[in-house]
């Protein structure tokens, strides 16, 4: 067991709004170690809120959240990696610098490995391009590379392929799955739907 939710619900959602959810207000929802989960729901149902609650940055919720094997005070350091929905890239920096900004903190990957990832993600030409001028799809891929630049036990991804084409998505998901395996980590992906590439162990609806 990695994470357990008990009767959890974001404070801003009413009981009625989450009545059909397989996660919210459930007596016990468990995310196991080294498993892959997809959380599907439409917009505004609270997908991002769930990931933020797990990441420890959303504290306005009811119910309980229990970490098992995750050190709460080191979540951002080496416990949970997160691909944010709004990506949180720095437009003042280049694509490579955005990734190095994280990697300098963790010293997790060699620069050559990072450049190889850029290559595999089809971004070799965008290495030194300003993040402000990248397309949404390119930004998403940079954000995913950045999320792999730390050790983690859980990888959270909030609609990570909303602007990716199918070919890119397949390649990227394969890399992510391998990276998670190397880290013996679980993956939780929040998605509007269509998440077959992840080959999820469980698909949960909110």
């Amino acid at each position: 067991m990695l994470i357990e939710l008990n009767n959890l619900k974001p404070a801003y959602l009413s009981d009625k709004q989450v009545s059909d959810s397989q996660i919210y207000l459930q007596e016990s929802v468990v995310f196991e170690k080294e498993k892959r989960y997809v959380i599907e729901a439409g917009s505004g149902k609270g997908k991002s809120s769930l990931l933020n609650i797990i990441y420890g940055v959303h504290e306005k919720y009811e119910g309980a959240l229990h970490y098992h094997g995750i050190k709460k005070d080191q979540i951002k350091k080496d416990q949970i990696s997160y691909v944010f929905q709004d990506l949180k890239l720095f437009k003042e920096l280049t694509a490579l610098e955005n990734v190095l900004l994280k990697n300098n903190l963790t010293q997790h990957k060699e620069i050559t490995v990072i450049k190889e990832l850029f290559n595999q993600f089809g971004l070799s030409k965008q290495l030194n391009q300003s993040a402000a001028t990248l397309s949404l799809g390119q930004k998403q891929r940079v954000a995913i590379i950045r999320s792999l630049c730390m050790p983690y036990k859980l990888l959270l991804m909030d609609e990570p392929y909303s602007h990716l084409d199918d070919d890119n998505m397949k390649i990227i998901m394969e890399i992510i799955k391998n990276d998670a395996l190397e880290n013996s980590a679980s993956i939780i992906i929040a998605s509007l739907g269509n998440s077959t590439e992840l080959d999820a162990d469980q698909i949960l609806q909110i």
Binding site: N52, H58, K76, K77, Y82, F84, L101, L105, M150
Partner: protein, 397 residues
């Protein structure tokens, strides 16, 4: 430069930082200059060892037509001295010891034959009230030479008065200091001859002074013991701005040297000016700090999302603020050091111009103040920057 520093440099409010440095420099120069001038000028007004310096008054009873025959009222009684001692503004009190024996001064052209002889008077005061630093101000019973200090005005009176009108040669201080003359003390039906030499000149004390030890010995051995009460006293003032100081002496018909009081007033105004400058400089520095910290706050809020994002990808508030704290530390050090150097240059310039008025000490002593100022500024800016970043990263989602 690492990536985080480069990112932070791009959002740095450079114009505001330069403005801060400039205003801080102005404030620091004023504060250091005011402190330096205060340190330089203070000894001139408050030097305790100075004869009748700003804190010591010479007091005597007013001489009126009724006192010319009966002199008893020109002496201070023990009760009067005690009353003066009891005043709030009086720190210490000492008396002039007057000679109670006959003193003759004479010169000898031939051995044993007096050439010129005159009556003299001597007085003694405690050594701590002397403004003249000399190791010759010693006397013991076996010594035949008595060191003497006379007012410099006596020499001027001779050179520009008597010598001018009688066509006599003028004498320099140095020349007169080389000369020795005879002194004869007489009393209790005995006498003794000594040598006398003028070792220095006092600008402020209007008396012929000999070491107090000699006075005490001579009064014991030759004095007639007619009156042991003093007619002149030295009063060390502890509160020169006390409102009752002047009126106390006026009401008791006691004359005091007004010059010393005037110096007290000048020193009082000097202190007010220094205080005013100090306060103005402090206000300037505080305003510079407030403006700078507001600019930093504005920068943090303007770039709130960048700081939030850094926090979300794992950067601690401490790591994020370190760069800005280092910049403020380096800037403050540079500004205070520059201000310190400028202050020293200005002081040097002032010193050259005012050397004849004030005896400036050679070395300046503002290092402690500069360091304190730097430490305070760096502490305030560091703590405020840290708290600003912590505040904007609180409860982010």
């Amino acid at each position: 430069m690492n990536i985080l520093a480069r990112l932070q440099f791009k959002i740095l409010p450079l114009k505001q930082i330069l403005g801060y440095a400039l205003v801080l420099a102005i404030g620091s120069i004023i504060i250091l200059l005011a402190a330096q001038l205060y340190i330089d000028v203070k000894p001139y007004f408050t030097n305790e060892s100075s004869v009748l310096g700003s804190r010591v008054l010479v007091a005597s009873k007013q001489v009126s037509v009724f006192k010319t025959v009966d002199k008893s009222s020109i002496y201070f009684t023990e009760e009067e001295l005690q009353e003066i001692r009891d005043q709030e503004f009086v720190g210490d009190l000492a008396t002039f010891s007057t000679a109670q024996f006959e003193i003759k001064g004479f010169t000898e052209r031939k051995e044993g034959m007096p050439d010129f002889k005159t009556d003299l008077f001597f007085e003694g005061i405690p050594e701590k009230y002397l403004d003249i630093k000399t190791d010759q101000w010693q006397w013991k019973e076996s010594d035949s030479l008595i060191p003497i200090i006379i007012p410099s005005s006596y020499l001027k009176l001779y050179n520009f008065g008597l010598a001018e009108s009688k066509n006599l040669p003028v004498i320099s201080e140095n020349t007169i200091s080389q000369m020795q003359f005879g002194i004869e003390v007489e009393g209790q039906e005995k006498s003794r001859k000594f040598k006398g030499r003028i070792i220095d000149f006092s600008d402020k004390l209007n008396s012929i002074l000999v070491p107090e030890k000699f006075m005490s010995w001579a009064n014991d051995n030759y004095g007639n013991d007619s009156n042991s009460n003093p007619s002149r006293i030295l009063i060390e003032i502890s509160q020169s701005d006390h409102p009752e100081l002047s009126s106390f002496f006026e009401n008791r018909n006691i004359d005091i040297n007004k010059e010393a009081l005037e110096q007290n007033k000048i020193w009082f105004f000097f202190q007010l000016i220094f205080l005013f400058l100090f306060v103005i400089a402090c206000i300037i520095i505080v305003l510079a700090c407030v403006a700078m910290l507001l600019s930093f706050n504005l920068m943090f809020y303007k770039n709130k999302s960048a700081f939030n994002n850094l926090h979300l990808i794992g950067y601690s508030n401490r790591t994020m603020t370190k760069y800005f704290q280092w910049i403020m530390l380096a800037l403050t050090l540079l500004v205070i050091f520059t201000s310190y150097m400028i202050t020293n240059i200005i002081r040097l310039e002032i010193r050259e111009r005012m050397e004849s008025i004030f005896r400036f000490e050679k070395s300046s002593s503002l290092i402690e103040l500069s360091i304190s100022l730097t430490v305070i500024l760096v502490f305030i800016t560091s703590v405020t920057i840290k708290s600003s970043v912590t505040k904007i990263n609180k409860n982010i989602q």
